[in-house]
């Protein structure tokens, strides 16, 4: 080992404060990657106070068993020879369960330093932990720290450096003598190549019949039989299986240690219990949850967030401009009203400290620099780039507020309760309550929503959640809904209020129907995933971790917006502004004699016409409608703006009645209009979300399945709406009506038929069955 470079592994249970510690000591500048082959996240960073120390944050786990990918990665890393020392983070307020993993980590033979975290809370509860005695019992140094309050961290890392130089320890704790005898025998049968400090670890693993360890050690046939005989004898003597015996022994050792090292203050009801009495109350639980969610969305989307977003869209990025602190706004508005038709000539700068919008500033600068007003460059920069970016960054404030609140609920422990409350609902279609959190986040933006699925351990559940979570209307889909409302009803204020939630229900319906249908396919067949989850104690989140959480989510969106969406906005601008007219190809608005609707001649129109036949059964086969759908695939934010420019309604907003009329004019019937809306809300999400799906699935095949399914489902729903509208309202019947009826019957059959038999034979069972046969 080079004397200066030290590799430290951070291990611990979920919710023990490991991540808080990691963020604190590394300044949260970690490199985030996935462990090879699995979608478990791996974080690595240098220690702030010493660049020669590299910290690897292992996933939060309860045990080093071989059953979950997190546990497998952790033990593979621990046994890989890379870490020089392990910092075992222990939640000191729950010593008993936390020490269970600590014992296993100590058994690996690596030098271990146990960090008793949340020391401040232990003190507050009036409990006392004798660290010297604990250190003796465990055979490794034990340090009291508080990651939240930044206490004891320097001392911890002085000890870590000392321990890194040591050779590691042979575990001190001993099981019952009859078990120890068997373990000794197994140790004697291990090949000589296993080093002294790792012999006990492998002896225990062989005792447990741990498949991975058996493969690694690869005993001779004779020795393997001898070991098997020893274990089987021991199982018979104890009347229990090997895994249970070892688990029981570990908890026995822990009970003994706790008796000697922990003095507990008389139990009183904890704050957590008091909170939980109310928020997960049998009767109040659901109403409280609804109220909390309503408040979150009311603040983030309707009031505060909406105001900031409108400001960003219209005034900061748009052409309206703004007044510092609103001074002069009223006087200006009055002047505009007084001027009537001549409103354009009112100079806003006369009425207060006026700052023009970015579009205006850029436009003026370009024209002043000699660029042609309304020409190629002006149009590209102002309409394409600034307009496109503005539309995207307008969502950042809303999203920021939403994530501030959702991340708080997550970090303080409430989301675990939400999973507890909602599990019953999600289990019906084969998911667990954990799938609910990504769906909540998706209502803000699908990109962080899809990323939030990484907390779902089960692979099938995670894949299904990724596939269905973007059905929930995200913030960017809201203007589309508003535009549809306006077009269908004409006047939004009174009657439309109840229709907009209908699209939310459509999203929820899509999730439920998909869950029920997909669960019965071969792809997702299997037993429902167990839902055994710790409900962590409530605590006020560490500000640093909370902020980091919000930042990570917003940044994911901004990064995608700045790259994928930005690039695609420019592409869409080119496609809609370039084309051939009168036999020559070029920048359309600058061509001689081109009509006002120059986009009819654009490349976009040509592409739209090429694929329009796909949407004919859905009732919208004009190239404009197709082009809108395409621009929606790029970014849903684009749809309204593209509609404005395609339909030549200047300065279009979803609340503009002239756009409503023009938009409604694109469709032959109201059914087609609704079908268009449904298709756009349900089909594949934007490029950015698709990219995130690709990352989460970590497989091209699964990405294709997810996006293909979403598009097909959206198409079918659009078909239903259009065809049944034609049939029931207009009395039209055709070949596509038959197709729609057949598909509807098939869909209902798939939703309501009982779970097929084969669905219950999952891989585990097949494996055990074949193992049983071979034995």
């Amino acid at each position: 080992m080079a004397d200066s470079q030290i590799h430290v592994a951070l291990a611990g249970n979920p919710n023990c404060g490991k991540t808080t510690l990691f963020n604190l000591i590394t300044g949260a500048n970690g490199y985030v990657g996935n462990w090879p082959g699995v979608t478990v996240e791996k974080k690595e960073a240098k220690l702030l106070s010493d660049k020669n120390v590299t910290i690897t944050d292992l996933p939060g786990i309860y045990s080093l068993s071989p059953y979950s990918p997190e546990e497998q990665c952790s033990r593979d890393y621990l046994m890989s020879g890379e870490p020089d020392v392990v910092v075992q983070v222990v939640d000191a307020t729950n010593l008993e369960r936390n020490l269970y993993l600590a014992l296993q980590v100590i058994e690996t033979g690596l030098p271990v330093v146990v960090a008793l975290n949340m020391a401040d809370l232990v003190e507050k509860n009036g409990d006392k932990i004798d660290t010297d005695k604990l250190s003796k019992k465990l055979g490794c140094p034990v340090m009291m720290i508080s990651a939240l309050k930044n206490k004891g961290i320097t001392e911890l890392f002085e000890q870590v450096k000392k321990s890194a130089a040591s050779k590691g320890q042979v575990p001190e704790h001993k099981f019952d003598s009859s078990i120890e005898d068997v373990l000794d025998h197994i140790e004697n049968n291990l090949p000589a190549s296993v080093p002294a400090n790792k012999r006990r670890y492998y002896a225990v693993k062989l005792f447990e019949r741990d498949a991975d360890a058996c493969k690694l050690i690869n005993l001779t046939k004779e020795k393997a039989a001898r070991v098997e005989q020893l274990v089987a004898q021991c199982e018979q003597d104890c009347d229990d299986d090997a895994e249970s015996i070892i688990t029981g022994e570990r908890y026995g050792v822990i009970a003994h240690i706790i008796d000697e090292c922990l003095t507990k203050a008389p139990a009183k009801m904890s704050t957590s219990e008091k909170i939980d009495r109310v928020v997960t109350n049998r009767i109040l639980g659901l109403p409280i949850f609804v109220v909390i969610m309503f408040c979150v969305y009311y603040i983030a989307v309707s009031t505060l967030g909406g105001t900031v977003t409108d400001f960003t869209n219209d005034q900061l990025f748009g052409t309206d401009g703004w007044y510092v602190l609103g001074q002069g706004r009223d006087a200006y508005d009055a002047a505009v009203e007084a001027a009537g038709d001549a409103a354009d000539s009112v100079d806003p700068a006369q009425y207060g400290p006026y700052v023009p919008g970015i579009t205006t500033v850029v436009h003026d600068a370009l024209v002043a620099g000699g660029t042609e007003d309304g020409g190629l460059v002006d149009s590209l920069v102002c309409d394409g780039i600034v307009g496109g970016l503005g539309a995207i960054f307008g969502f950042v404030p809303q999203m920021f507020l939403l994530f501030v609140m959702l991340s708080f609920l997550e970090d303080c422990g409430y989301m675990a309760r939400v999973a507890f409350i909602m599990d019953r609902v999600f289990r019906r279609f084969g998911l667990s309550g954990k799938s609910f959190i990504p769906m909540l986040v998706s209502s803000g933006c699908g990109v962080p929503g899809v990323m939030a699925t990484k907390t779902i351990e089960n692979e099938k559940d995670r894949r299904m959640t990724v596939m269905t979570t973007t059905f929930i209307p995200c913030g960017a889909k809201l203007p589309i809904i508003a535009l549809l409302m306006g077009s269908i009803i004409g006047d939004s204020s009174t009657t439309a209020a109840w229709i907009s939630p209908l699209f939310y229900f459509l999203g929820v319906f899509a999730v439920i129907a998909s869950g029920l249908m997909l669960k019965k396919t071969k792809l997702f067949a299997g037993r429902p995933t167990p839902f055994v989850m710790e409900l962590p104690a409530y605590h006020f989140p560490a500000i640093r971790s909370w902020a980091l959480h919000v930042w990570e989510r917003c940044w994911a969106f901004i990064k995608k917006a700045g790259t994928v969406i930005f690039a695609s906005t420019v592409v869409v601008w080119f496609l809609s502004n370039f084309g051939s007219y009168n036999g020559s190809f070029g920048f359309l608005p600058a061509m001689d004699g081109i009509p006002e609707e120059f986009m009819d001649y654009s490349v976009l129109a040509m592409l739209g016409n090429l694929v329009a036949w796909i949407f004919a059964p859905l009732g919208f086969s004009t190239w404009q409608a197709t082009a809108l759908t395409v621009s929606g695939l790029v970014a849903k934010e684009n749809v309204v703006a593209t509609a404005g420019s395609l339909l030549s309604v200047a300065d279009a907003a979803e609340t503009d009645p002239s756009l409503w009329t023009a938009f409604a004019g694109m469709f032959p019937t109201m059914g087609a209009c609704v079908a268009f809306g449904a298709f756009n809300l349900l089909c594949a999400p934007c490029f950015a979300a698709m990219g995130t799906i690709r990352n989460q699935m970590d497989s091209g095949k699964w990405t294709a399945i997810a996006i293909g399914y979403e598009c097909a489902f959206a198409w079918v729903i659009g078909l239903f709406i259009n065809q049944f509208y034609n049939l029931l309202v207009l009395g039209q019947f055709g070949i596509w009506t038959v197709v729609a009826i057949v598909l509807l019957v098939a869909m209902l059959f798939q939703i309501f038929r009982p779970m097929p038999k084969h669905a219950w034979t999952d891989e585990d069972e097949t494996n055990t069955a074949s193992a049983a046969v071979s034995a």
Partner: protein, 73 residues
């Protein structure tokens, strides 16, 4: 056989044996649900499932279906 799922809210009991197999069984053991462990059923979720139990000083949520593999006194 009485199982963890049969214990009423507010009552305590002790685990007699863990049935089932594979990952779920090991996970329950790792969480400390082994022979001789006492626990208390704290509450049941608003929709009737899952239940919340207090075991080894922490709170655990478990579905009735999975609780059925835990035999209790």
């Amino acid at each position: 056989m009485k199982t963890l799922g049969d214990v009423k809210v507010g009552e305590s009991s002790t685990i007699v044996k863990l049935h089932g197999e594979g990952a779920l069984r090991r996970h329950l053991m790792d969480l400390g649900l082994i022979k001789g462990t006492s626990f208390k059923v704290v509450k049941v979720a608003p929709l009737g499932d899952p239940v919340e139990i207090n075991v080894r000083g922490y709170e655990l949520s478990i579905r009735k279906e999975e609780a059925a593999v835990v035999e209790v006194q």
